[in-house]
């Protein structure tokens, strides 16, 4: 599988893996056909302006090199961003940051974005519950 140098480097030094001790958003996605499963944990806190910031983020991924590299890179990108900004991220950002992905691995970048969005959804649904 011809991976870009950046993919290989990212895979070599994965960041932000393992379950977060404290989190208020969990996103689980999976693709049973390929077998990739991604779980993203986020810890969201409000700053002084009342913006919701992703203070911490981590992943647990059962997947190939592309899935692991996508998970690592997107958690790096999203960390410290406001939820508003994070929701603007797309798989194109993941692919760009990784210096490209082989065509049959594009879905791995999509999964990473989906996992992030699901974690945010989960956070929102919990927030609502708390407000009620």
């Amino acid at each position: 599988m011809p991976y870009s140098e950046k993919v290989v480097q990212t895979f070599k030094n994965l960041h932000n893996y393992g379950k977060l001790k404290k989190y208020n958003g969990l996103g689980k996605v999976g693709n049973p056909v390929c077998g990739d499963v991604l779980w993203f944990y986020i810890k969201v806190e409000k700053n002084k302006k009342g913006e919701e910031i992703i203070k911490d983020i981590s992943f647990e991924t059962f997947g190939c090199i592309a899935a692991l590299a996508s998970s690592s890179i997107i958690t790096d990108i999203a960390k410290g961003k406001s939820i508003k900004e994070a929701l603007k991220l797309t798989n194109v950002d993941v692919i760009k940051e990784l210096g490209g992905l082989p065509p049959i691995k594009i879905h791995c970048s999509v999964l990473a974005i989906d996992a992030l969005r699901k974690a945010v959804d989960d956070y929102f649904s919990k927030e609502k519950k708390d407000e009620n």
């Binding site: 895979f11 390929c34 077998g35 499963v37 991604l38 592309a66 049959i104 691995k105």
Partner: protein, 370 residues
């Protein structure tokens, strides 16, 4: 240290094989069909190799046809029998665990009006004799079943399968590319046997098909009538010479001992499943919770070269049918890694792999949600 444990994919050429081949590139490079001394030298070298191959499977010399490799041999055997025996029937029986060169040939034949039955196997990868018996109809012309399996190392009993085919007067082809020289093959058990060189420390680009005398088969490669009209194309003299030498000096070395050593070490790792069977060089292991390609990738960074047989490893995203056929779940199939040995593998290499694996497993399991 570079550790190559992907010998089921291909092997290093043996130095003696290479040495034997070299003069046929630059000194004795005559076309074996040419009617002069240089042609004769090449022809003699080819015939010498043919005798070695024939003897190795208890066949007659003129039952061996040289080809470009295992894929061609499988295509030749299956298509050749199919089209030559169309008047007798259009039904072919194979299994769900064949090599792609058999499966995709069969799929193509389905488009040409042939009907194919794909037999299931048991949890060891073995074909059931009764299942085969039941699948044979009066339209059946060919049974094609892999001998030694490339992923899980299952060895089918050629005699048992061959006897069923004989009794029903159906041709029997077996793909023996992975088992050749690693376990005994007797040509009396089959009508067609695919063989190749690069899995046994010979060169790439050369194989052979054993075709039992009297077999009705269509020629696959048309041209100048080489190989007694059975397979045209200028003879690959260095390749054939190398193939002969590789067979002559083939031995399984310490493969069995190293395989046991590797399996014993692997079993010490938590949540692991060993899938491999009889072939002396193949160890298939499922590391639960770890995706196979990730494992192969990390080992690659350590200069240890192994293979996956599963979905995300190859060029397609299809799930591995063999592993599913022997009862693995899709997730287990995706967590499977194949280590394959050669006679050049060493105890030191196995020990190094066993030393490094637990750390890799621990890290990858930490990353995984399972």
């Amino acid at each position: 240290m570079r550790i190559y444990l992907d010998n089921a994919a291909t092997t290093q050429i043996d130095a003696l094989v290479l040495k034997e081949m070299l003069r046929f590139f630059d000194r004795d490079y005559g076309n074996a069909s040419s009617p002069h001394k240089m042609g004769e030298t090449s022809m003699e070298a080819i015939e010498k190799a043919r005798i070695i191959l024939a003897k190795s499977i208890n066949a007659k010399n003129d039952e061996i046809v040289f080809t470009s490799g295992g894929t061609e041999s499988n295509n030749f055997a299956i298509k050749g029998i199919a089209f030559a025996n169309r008047d007798k029937g259009n039904h072919i029986i194979t299994t769900k665990i064949e090599h792609k060169s058999v499966l995709n040939t069969c799929k193509w034949l389905e488009k040409q009006g042939f009907e194919i039955s794909y037999l299931d196997v048991d949890e060891k990868g073995l074909v059931n004799k009764e299942d085969l018996e039941k699948a044979i109809t009066d339209k059946t012309i060919l049974v094609s079943i892999i001998h030694g399996h490339n992923e899980i190392g299952t060895i089918q009993d050629l005699k048992v399968i061959g006897d069923v085919c004989k009794r029903h007067n159906v041709y029997f082809h077996t793909d023996a590319c992975q088992s050749y020289t690693k376990t005994e093959i007797d040509s009396r058990d089959a009508d067609l046997i695919s063989l190749n060189a690069h899995k046994i420390h010979g060169p790439k680009g050369v194989g052979a098909l054993f075709i039992k005398k009297g077999t009705e088969i269509d020629v696959f490669m048309h041209g100048g009538g080489h190989e007694r009209g059975m397979r045209s194309g200028t003879d690959n003299v260095p390749g054939i010479v190398g193939f002969g030498k590789a067979v002559e000096i083939a031995n399984i070395g310490e493969m069995r001992e190293l395989k046991s050593r590797l399996i014993k070490g692997l079993k010490k790792i938590d949540k692991i499943k060993i899938n491999s069977q009889g072939l002396p060089h193949i160890v298939s292991a499922t590391f639960l919770g770890i995706e196979g390609e990730a494992m192969v990738g990390v080992l690659n960074l350590e200069d240890i070269y192994v293979a996956t047989g599963s979905a995300c490893s190859s060029n397609t995203l299809e799930l591995d049918q063999t592993l599913l056929s022997i009862g693995l779940t899709p997730q287990e199939a995706n967590s499977t890694v194949r280590f394959s040995l050669s006679r050049f593998s060493t105890r030191k290499e196995i020990d190094r792999v066993l030393e490094i694996l637990p750390k890799i497993v621990e890290k990858l399991r930490k990353i995984s949600p399972f």
